[in-house]
Amino acid sequence: MSPGVFGRGFARLKQALSRTRNSFRRLLDTRDESELEELLLAADVGVAATDRLVDRLRGATDRRAVLEEEVARLLEPGAGPVAAPVEPPRVVMVVGVNGSGKTTTVGKLCRLFREQGQRVLVAAADTYRDAASDQLAVWAARAGVELVASTQGQDAAAVAFDALTRAKSQGFDIALLDTAGRLHTRTDLMAEVAKIRRVCARVKPGAPDDIWLVLDATVGQNGLRQARAFHDELGLTGLVVAKLDGTARGGVMIPVVQELGVPVRYVGTGERLEDIEPFDARAFARALLES
């Protein structure tokens, strides 16, 4: 049994999942397969996973256990916050569509990493949105980490470059880059984020070490298209699913993990600094189905 199933984190996760849990627990009330299909599709788990789940549920006696096990297996590949060790500073670039929760997530991650005893530098590489740097500055102060601020209209790649140069020369363990929101259909903006990424590698070969997509859980099926586009452009190394507390259909991460093989690293469960949980597929599946 994984450690994630105990403690306060689990309780918070369960709380945040309460609406999605209502949707999933309804799966336990029916044996009618077309009804099951409808429920699963409505929770955005996708066609492939729906077929698989309906298949495994057929003839099962302990339906809850079977479902929990299957959901965990679907989400497990590579899941969790840990990633291969890299030479410091670990460079993490956070990307996503407008308003998905990037800046808030970056703020939460600052606290999380700092509490692990790491020296964190965070950079406002969103130079487009009004007050984006001010917003991040508040989070950096709350989390007690150092900030590389920016002004609107500045070249975002230059901000990233300066931040990484500083992180490297001053011995930071982690450099987090917050980027501007961009719709995955905008080729010009996708090219811009690719440029930020290239600039990182000029400071540290191989950087960014991680590129995480922040997906808004309330967005449903569109999330899969977002993930595909960002993955094509950048090669994602992880997902953070934000606003899990805001939806009854938190299943969209399943098709993303299944189709793209990009693991979930964290989930966001609210608007406060501490509302983030390292992702644990087993704990998640259990929180999803436990009464």
């Binding site: 609107q152 719709l183 449903g220 099926q221 805001g246």
Partner: protein
């Protein structure tokens, strides 16, 4: 907007046009296809059912199996029913109070603050006042301050007591003569009792004339649940749907009126403050069906340039006296109107065309590197001038050659035809097919 939906409808219409007459069975197949298209666009299934029944009835009344041009009959039926599904006649935002007051509500990150700025820009003559009602989220107030500055609107910063702040801002508005006050509230979940109670209090005490729900257009059916639950508690006036510049499939836009009874008042189609459109059901229906939307295009054109100047340019053009300076003006006008590919979507039949916007930027740079004399009389641009212009604009001499050649051809064409044909537009202005 809704490209996937439009693509499917255009294909279906093309197929139908291939038939002389339609049998009962073929009509049934066409309707089944319409049904699939709508379901795949995430339109609520009950709404789809009712829609198909209505179209079928209309077709029967018109005796579709006897029609000589059945594709047209079907097209008209789809257009009429889609328009009525989207709300029929456009619902206008009624602003009569002095000051008029609008409260924006919605989930986190849907686009409320941006929308406040868009409204301010749209109603600029009312000297709008934007009131920050989110004291909690980091830099929420500062963000609105900047938005207000860009929109040229007044601004009231957030205070811990949100309701008192709303009331105080009404006094400020009366004093300063702001005739529109917009409350930009914090994002919240409809299940958050405490925060929903705060909105109720704003409604009771500051009595905004309109409470608008700002919905993220990328959200599928969940948007309908949000709308229903906000509406239940707050008595909303209407909905605004944002982020339709992406690949939103349109399900929410199409179903929200039918499912919740709430009219859609505005749509947001980009991050800039100019990216807002009043919602006209007939125009949207027209765009969804691939017929374009010349109304909105004409409005954008007249809003973006001085009409006198536009007419003068057109005249010059017809006489073949169009110079590169006029050309640059046009280029800038188009930029003011928003993205060119967005505009192309409004032109009937041109919706499928892709426009090379980076090319436009290059063309602009080239013209900017020319002297006024060169712009006026491109014939004087010789080899050494070409090298200078290329260097100044970061392009190559070949690029300049091509621009001048195409420009010259366009001028000759214009003289011959007294009009413009897309095939002869200078590069960058010329539609490019495919990606």
């Amino acid at each position: 907007m809704f490209d996937a939906l439009t693509d499917r409808f255009v294909k279906l219409q093309r197929k139908l046009r291939g038939y002389g007459t339609l049998s009962q069975q073929e009509v049934g197949e066409a309707l089944r296809e319409v049904r699939t298209v709508l379901l795949e666009a995430d339109v609520n299934y009950k709404v789809v059912g009712a829609f198909i029944r209505a179209v079928r009835q209309r077709l029967e009344e018109q005796d579709i199996t006897r029609a000589v041009k059945p594709a047209e009959v079907i097209d008209v039926a789809l257009f009429r029913e889609l328009t009525s599904l989207l709300g029929g006649s456009p619902a206008k935002l009624e602003l009569s109070g002095n000051p008029a007051t609008v409260c924006l509500v919605g989930l986190q990150g849907t686009g409320k603050t941006t929308f406040a700025g868009k409204l301010a820009k749209l109603y600029k003559s009312r000297r709008p006042l934007l009131v920050a009602c989110d004291p909690k989220r980091p830099a929420a107030s500062e963000q609105l301050r900047r938005v207000a500055e860009t929109a040229g609107a007044g601004f009231v910063p957030a205070r811990d007591d949100v309701v008192a702040n709303c009331l105080a801002s009404l006094d400020v508005a009366r004093r300063q003569g702001n005739n529109l006050v917009v409350f930009d509230t914090a994002g919240r979940l409809h299940i958050d009792n405490e925060l929903m109670a705060e909105l109720e209090l704003i409604q009771q005490q500051a009595s905004p004339e309109a409470t608008l729900l700002v919905l993220d257009g990328m959200v599928g059916q969940d948007a309908l649940i949000q709308a229903e639950q906000f509406h239940e508690r707050l008595k909303l006036t209407g909905a605004c749907i944002t982020k339709l510049d992406g690949d939103a499939r349109g399900g929410a836009v199409v179903s929200v009126r039918q499912v919740t009874g709430l009219p859609v008042l505005f749509i947001g189609t980009g991050e800039k403050l100019a990216d807002i459109e009043p919602f006209h059901p007939d125009r949207i229906a027209s765009r969804i069906l691939g017929r374009g939307d010349l109304h909105s295009l004409a409005e954008k054109v007249s809003a973006s340039g001085n009409p006198e100047q536009q007419r003068a340019t057109a005249e010059k053009f017809l006489k073949g006296r169009f110079d590169l300076e006029d050309f640059l003006d046009q280029l800038r006008n188009i930029k003011k109107m928003g993205s060119l590919s967005k505009l192309m979507k409004m032109i009937p039949g041109a919706g499928q065309v892709n426009v090379d916007e980076t090319e436009m930027v290059r063309v602009e740079a080239m013209i900017q590197s020319m002297t006024p004399a060169e712009r006026h009389d491109p014939d004087i641009i010789d080899g050494s001038r070409r090298r200078r212009i290329a260097e100044g604009s970061g392009t190559s001499v070949q690029d300049i050659n091509r621009l001048l050649k195409e420009f010259g051809q366009a001028r000759v064409m214009a003289r011959q035809l007294g009009g413009i044909t897309p095939g002869r537009l200078p590069r960058g202005f010329r539609p490019r097919r495919g990606r």
